[in-house]
Subunit: 350 residues, 4 copies
């Protein structure tokens, strides 16, 4: 129970089902005196919103954040920041077809088993819509650590991937295309591929790479709350995530120590950075970078077998909105969770 | 600060440096009335111990656990279980060569930067010796959830890997060989390769796969404390871990939804299990399985450049004990952390 | 930072300033499947509301709770319950007179010192209006532990006090009078006294006694989270509270052991109950009872010296709403916090 | 479960039964670089120890603290400080007489009901011996906040009390007498009274007053973690405590606002200090003072009725060690818990 709070000193608690009155949250522990950039917050919300381009779902969500407390004359006051994001269209859809059925690889079945009841409208609490509140928290967190730069981007879709180290990429290109891939040639391939997937009524997975730059040395709290452990938890808490690796990651497991060790420069920086900016669970001032794997979304516009609450298997035609590839939309969510973790450890380290 | 506690209802707090008087911990929240199997606990410690075979370090560690509280007439009493593991050889080694230097890809530098001081003897708190306390906690956790089966094994060393699904493996073979690989042909290759690495004074990374069976439905606390998110954090908190994936993992990111979705059987089980036993952050009763990536250990028996606390780069010959591949020894640690997570969520779900 | 969450498994996080858009909160960890009585919740809000009788402030507050999540078809779903209470009159008052001054025994000065900024309108976060969110949480908590009976009442105002043990009182009379004192003769004296105080533009303190009946044996988590320790913290977190005692309380400090010990009956109940239903931090099944001391409210309708932010002492005429005695209104708040504590430990003990 | 940790950034977790191998704990979150005064720590232990004077129990406890980690070359390293306090005499006493009986107003009955099992030797975990670990933590906490002065003393025993404000007392006299009362005339009366009580085989309660001076402005985290709320919880977690009041306390509940408000001086200090150094849950820089009520200890050297685990009431002669008044020995425990709270909030406020 009570798994809806994230963070230690900077705590984000969220609430909200996809088709309830509103989503929202409370960000507690935000330092006082920060002049918030509300346009930036709303712009971050816009990045997460569905229906932004031809490749993604066409559902209109307004996603307008209303701040209710913790801010006075434009500045944070140190008291908890309460906010809500009204669900404008919560009654428009028809969910009767999923009321009595459990869709494959959705959370329908486990929610009903665990709680004995579920809000079946659009996935309820397990909907990706829940992440809207995370983006609000992350957009404020970014302003707490304004000198630290966090950039996430889509590094692969299906089998298509960027074949370059992140250092060779121009992060300013991330938002220039619908798939949020800074390598434009790869972006085009991804976009075309997603259009094919969409026509098939199918979905496709992908990965996001996140790079955090200008991190102070010393963030992280061994032995259990190592910086990368908390980053990993943060990422794995995002819907559809199946894996997390930082620095050399799974490739590092194939390497020898003589290849993997990062030699020091006299100033304490390292020549290579297979460590991914974290050693012994503590940031060493080098770039932190990690990669997050997203499975394909479970909602298909195809016929699929579903389980009924009477224990029958029936065939059902998928309908409703359709995200052939949720990965581009997850980019601001990855950044938001990274910002929350880094800001929290930044405050812990003060 | 204060990052040395793991868990919510079942809390393990640990202390101890590799060369202090003793390591130890407190397991708080263990249910009362469990008749503990102390031989099992000591056997688990034995599995973690260095010096078990020709391929690993020869340092002798006794690793004898002494329980100080929380147990009466062989049973847990519901009060905190305090325990220590004395460091018998803590004064025998000579660490003067690392006192003023920071070894590449060790935590020396970041500890000194963060805390302004470090216990330089053998890595201090950042030593893998710290995990001995985790194994104690995990060995008790396993007894809390005695009907749930947790099996971890080495699934790859360097480029050598088991080329079979875990369902085709015989877990009873895991402890039959020095590398803890249940596929004996692969085990032999791994063992031979590690011997080569050892001769080179080098080290090699690898992966561990963990399978958790007979898990009740309903474990996991969305949205932030999803079961796999906490498992991920637990694994990433282990020394040298660079990545975590569960179910389809990073491969899932290359798949289509129509391939990835796990169709239901009428009884709620699923035909495939790409979900890895967890949907929406909640266990669905199918096997939970995940994979953990370990980088090669940083301590080499080779000449390496190190940074001095005067800001100079000097060459230093690595010496002391040498683990060419720490992955086999990490198997019981992976199991211990998995047991702690599962037991905690088990108690939360009651 | 981040001190706006209360509870372990049942967590209430609140936000809101007295003159912001809205107050509200998130109750996380509420078990699923409880059919909520919304009229009861609103009735509890009504009890806390100012302007209920001639003796208290005349400000109109609507205090209408809007639930935004966690409830589906009238039942709790196990997901977090988000709620808001709009501040309807937030712009009507004039607070310019306190913008640059710190009123004696208010939190103005310390908030400004701690945070460097404060929402000076009506006390901001330090206003008793904050407790509205607690009452919502408590009203739900009462429904989680519906078999446990919690009754609080005003046991003294100034020097006037009920001169009877609580066993001789009829709790059904508590709500029959404006001061919430079940002893009607004492109630009348209190009421008359408060009217005198009101005419003087002064305020008066008092105490609340709370009795919790039908508590299961075994609630409480030694050694730090003893049941009475958490009850004490809960009460001390309410505005204007200066003291807490349970069972024999401060009187017990004058007694001998031979007088104080509660002898057992064969069924495990005790003949006397100076322990106050808690022994060693764990409920023993007897009535839990405790007393809470409230200081007089600091806002007077009198001339008082105030400190300016320029470091000058000036005289200022108190104005605005005026609660001559906040104690009757605090009765539902005491009950709410007690309910939150008991429900939390009830869930922990399952 | 898991109620054996205290604190947020500075976390003390303790373990140990009165007659187990050892007591001990882990202090996590202690800042690095503090040169610890070990003689001071041992002297604090000595203050808590039984058998210090003719008025108290004669049991010999060595109470020697052994530090096992977190300290290197005399300085804290920022890693968790593990420590044990061996129980030297754990096998010498005969507890067969209480094995099957529940003594009145002890925790025997509730422990057995809650856990289904108890370590009946000397009270087990519910023994006051548990507080030894708190004194270790507190002695280190005092060194974290070395500029803040914490003085506790016995302010009443039974009906005998100090009839002076604390400002008129000389704290250097506290340790000059067996009852730890700085008013020597009152101390003598208390001491004589306790001797009478001892002869009767009876026990007597009392109160401790604690004064914290030189506190920085700004400690405390509203709304739930107000400074006095956490102080209250800390005190109420000590064995035998029945009440807590700070500043004007229960007397404040009898006062008018015009009497109770603390007028400011131009420098932000206040002329009076009925607030007790805390306003709105935040320290205002004035002295913090509070009072703690202790009931008489339940162990009498008299015949008493006890309950057997067969549901019979039998008469039993109390024996074993006998503390006629535990209050003097509780003085260092009150100080230790106060130090832990203040140090924690001090670190939170940095």
């Amino acid at each position: 129970m009570a798994g809806n709070t994230f963070g230690k000193l900077l705590k984000l608690t969220t609430f909200g089902e996809s088709h309830g009155e509103a989503l929202g949250g409370i960000l507690d522990g935000c330092p006082a005196g920060i002049t918030l950039d509300f346009e930036f917050i709303q712009a971050e919300m816009q990045r997460r919103k569905p229906g932004q381009s031809s490749i993604v779902t066409q559902r209109k969500e307004e996603d307008e954040v209303q701040f209710l407390s913790g801010i006075f004359e434009g500045k944070t006051t140190g008291t908890p920041i309460g906010f809500i994001i009204p669900n404008n269209n919560q009654k428009s859809d028809d969910y009767s077809h999923i009321k009595d059925t459990y869709r494959p690889s959705h959370a329908d079945y486990v929610y009903e088993q665990k709680y004995g009841i579920r809000d079946y409208r659009g996935g309820g609490r397990s909907s990706a819509r829940e992440t809207a509140s995370r983006v609000v928290g992350g957009a404020i967190a970014k302003q707490i650590i304004s000198e630290i730069k966090i950039n996430a981007f889509v590094s692969s879709v299906g089998e298509i991937f960027i074949d370059k180290p992140y250092q060779d990429l121009d992060f300013s290109k991330i938002e220039s295309n619908a798939v949020r891939c800074p390598d434009l040639a790869t972006a085009e391939k991804m976009e075309n591929y997603i259009k094919v997937i969409k026509k098939q009524g199918d979905t496709i997975g992908g990965t996001i790479t996140c790079v955090i730059q200008n991190v102070p040395i010393g963030l992280g709290e061994p032995v259990f709350d190592k910086l990368h452990a908390e980053l990993g938890k943060a990422m794995l808490s995002i819907n559809a995530v199946k894996g997390f690796e930082f620095g050399s990651g799974f490739c590092g497991a194939k390497m020898k120590g003589s290849e993997h060790n990062d030699s020091y420069n006299p100033d304490g920086t390292t020549k290579s950075n297979l460590s991914g900016g974290i050693q012994g669970g503590i940031s060493n001032g080098m770039d932190i970078y990690f990669r997050v794997a997203f499975k394909p979304v479970a909602t298909l516009i195809q016929k699929q077998e579903v389980l009924t609450n009477q224990g029958e298997i029936i065939e059902q035609q998928g309908k409703g909105r359709h995200d052939p590839c949720v990965v581009p939309r997850a980019v601001p969510i990855v950044e938001a969770m990274a910002a929350l973790v880094i800001a929290d450890y930044f405050l812990l380290n003060k």
